[in-house]
């Protein structure tokens, strides 16, 4: 029993925090398991469970215990990001029909004010005789983020894993970042968000979950680093029934929409991926696949579009 104790803890921990994505009992720690391990500290209380073979195994309660919020990662940890990661997203424009499931999921999970959307789906049409297409737009998490450049108080910052986050406890609400962002993805809490539930209202703000949103501060797509820490995918990725969004780690050279997983470099090469307004020198972390060989006609999305 004791021989395997460490690995068991490890895989249980990973399992608890990773939902249906199952982790194994490898002796080598992957960064994510390591991350999960650091988050949960053994409580000393053991729970008896059955193994597949019918043995009784003891598992520390802490690894099973549900964690209502991410266990306290300090603000300075949140500002550093996850070492060795470089998160990227690939959005396949040929798959989008403006269903807005991504938007609903995102708004719901981040308790975004009902007037606002962190994720917008634009009807795009470049020229007079070009074909229109739907373009879901998240934060680009630029490597040369113009918004971060202009922030006077380090309230929005770039992390080593490529993610640009906002510290709503520090934001002074000057909205310079909103003016600086060429993608107009930043939103402002002009009033107290009407969607924040009572129980969450008093909870401390976390840069990684971006909740609870606060009056007088800027909000935006956060690439769901809290989900990534749990080896799960961002809410928009999971919510899209057409698998439009792919999320992954550039350092692993892989992106997935949950159902399909592609080698990032191959996908970008094969489908001629591009970045939005890369001529501005922002170096976005979000890549688009052109709307060639579309799964849906553009008009399909008009039914849902309300402007």
């Amino acid at each position: 029993m004791d021989i395997n104790n460490t690995s068991r803890k490890e895989f249980l921990a990973a399992m608890v925090t990773s939902g249906l994505v199952l982790a194994g009992c490898s002796s080598k720690k992957t960064p994510f398991e390591a991350g999960a391990d650091e988050l949960v500290k053994p409580s000393g209380e053991k729970v008896k469970l059955l193994s597949v073979d019918g043995e009784v195994i003891e598992v520390d309660k802490a690894f099973l215990k549900p964690v209502p919020q991410l266990p306290a990662i300090t603000n300075s940890e949140e500002r550093k990001g996850i070492p060795g990661k470089k998160f990227v997203m690939v959005i396949d424009l040929s798959r989008c029909k403006n269903l807005r499931k991504c938007q609903q999921a995102c708004n719901h999970m981040h308790q975004v004010h009902s007037d606002l959307n962190w994720l917008k789906v634009y009807p795009m049409n470049e020229g007079e005789h070009t074909a229109p297409y739907w373009q879901p737009t998240t934060c680009m998490h630029c490597d040369e983020p113009p918004c971060v450049k202009v922030c006077p108080v380090d309230a929005t910052f770039k992390r080593q894993d490529g993610i640009v986050l906002i510290d709503s406890d520090r934001c002074i609400g000057c909205r310079f970042c909103m003016a600086a962002c060429p993608y107009s993805i930043r939103v402002f809490n002009w009033e107290k968000p009407d969607t924040v539930s009572e129980e969450l209202c008093g909870q401390p703000y976390s840069c990684e979950t971006s909740v609870p949103q606060k009056k007088g501060t800027v909000g935006k797509c956060d690439f769901c680093p809290d989900m990534a820490r749990k080896n799960e995918l961002p809410h928009c990725v999971v919510a899209c029934p057409n698998g439009t969004f792919f999320y992954g780690d550039l350092n692993e050279d892989s992106v997935t929409n949950g159902a399909e997983t592609f080698r990032f470099s191959d996908l970008i090469k094969d489908k001629a991926g591009y970045q939005l307004m890369d001529d501005l020198g922002t170096k976005p972390s979000v890549y688009y696949l052109p709307p060639a060989a579309r799964n849906f006609p553009f008009e399909k999305g008009m039914e849902i579009d309300k402007g």
Partner: protein, 459 residues
Amino acid sequence: MENSISTKNDKQAASAATFANGRRKPDALTDEQIISDLLPRKFGKLGMIWMGILVVICMVGVFAYFRQLKYGLVVTNMRDYASWGIYISNFVFFVAISLVGSLITAVLRLTGVHWSTPLTRIAEIIAVSAITFAAIIIIVDMGRPERFYNLFLFGRLQSPIIWDVTVITTYFFISILLLYIPLLPDMKILLATKEKTAFYKLYRFMGSFWKGTHLQFRISKKAINILCIAIVPVAFSIHTVTSWLFATTYRPGWDSTNFGPYFISGAFLVGSGAVTVAMYVFRKYYNLKNYITYDHFDRMGKIVVMLGLLYLYFNVNEYLIPAFKMKKPEEGFLDSLFVGEFAPLFWAAILGGMIIPIIVLLFKKGRHPFPMFICGIMIVVGAWFKRYLIVTPTLLHPFLPMHNVPASYKHYFPSWEEWAIAMGSLAGALLVVTIFARIFPIIPIQETLIEQHEKEHNK
């Protein structure tokens, strides 16, 4: 006191008659006459009404701000696209107008122009009060004003806002010094008056140590010279850095290398316009016809024309060159200005705020006090709307379409709270100038006396 004012006014009237409506220099004035003419006076009936109006506007502004603190910036009509509104354009306006302090005082002093002496203090107090309200309005615009201290705790040197905070603070202190040091000799005169006014203690506190010794004069002259040199680059920085708040972004209409000089030339124009207005008002209501003469207006008018042409030149650069290329992101923006929803305001600002005043002031008769006053008002009002046109149309023309937002997010017209706060801040700035003129001589007495003596000596 009422009596003394009336006697002064009588004297004034008498001298005004002598000097043919002030068209000539007041070369025959005695020292006592000058001092009694230029001493600060109690408000008359008109003054009280003026003060009352300003205070009321300010109070409405304060009430609107109270509402904004309570409910958040939702009381404004700013939304995600037009995320900056008239608060910011008002801020730019204040910064612009404050630049005048350096124009009149420093540039003209350094170039050895003497006719500007009576205008220096007017210019400086406008600068101080405008820069103060620029700082206030920027705090009003913040979503979290109570976190202002974060700027000092976490200030990032990379952010143009930190640069702006730094240069505005610096400019404020330099302007205060430039206001204060030339005021010292006047303190002695104020303290020497027979009647002890309510501000006697203040005068004592501020300048009782000024004895008017030779050495003191020499040091103060040196200090003023240093200040005049130092204030020029600082004044240029405040407006250049303010322009960088826009020019450091990618947006159409803001993404310009011209923005620094464009803003500075605009600031010079609106500043000189404001001084023209102030000259007229003080001349009329303080009976300073002997000190602010037709000659002053004439010269000021020529300067305004020059600055107007300069600003017009930059405007041509800013709008004609992008319009020649019509890059896609600029297209919608320029269309909205030239023929679209902002066209009436845009052409009104260009014609009314620049071209018409320039044409009027080209004529000698146009440079008489009253037409100058009207032109000054047109320039100032035009400049205020010009700032609005710099801020808002750009924000309403983002690179990606305005989509997935409520319909109200796609347009911007300020709410009553925004108007009240903006107008309140303007009234506040005027209030500061008015109160200052009540306490201190608005025209430097000592310098006028010296110039007078020099003139007589030269004869």
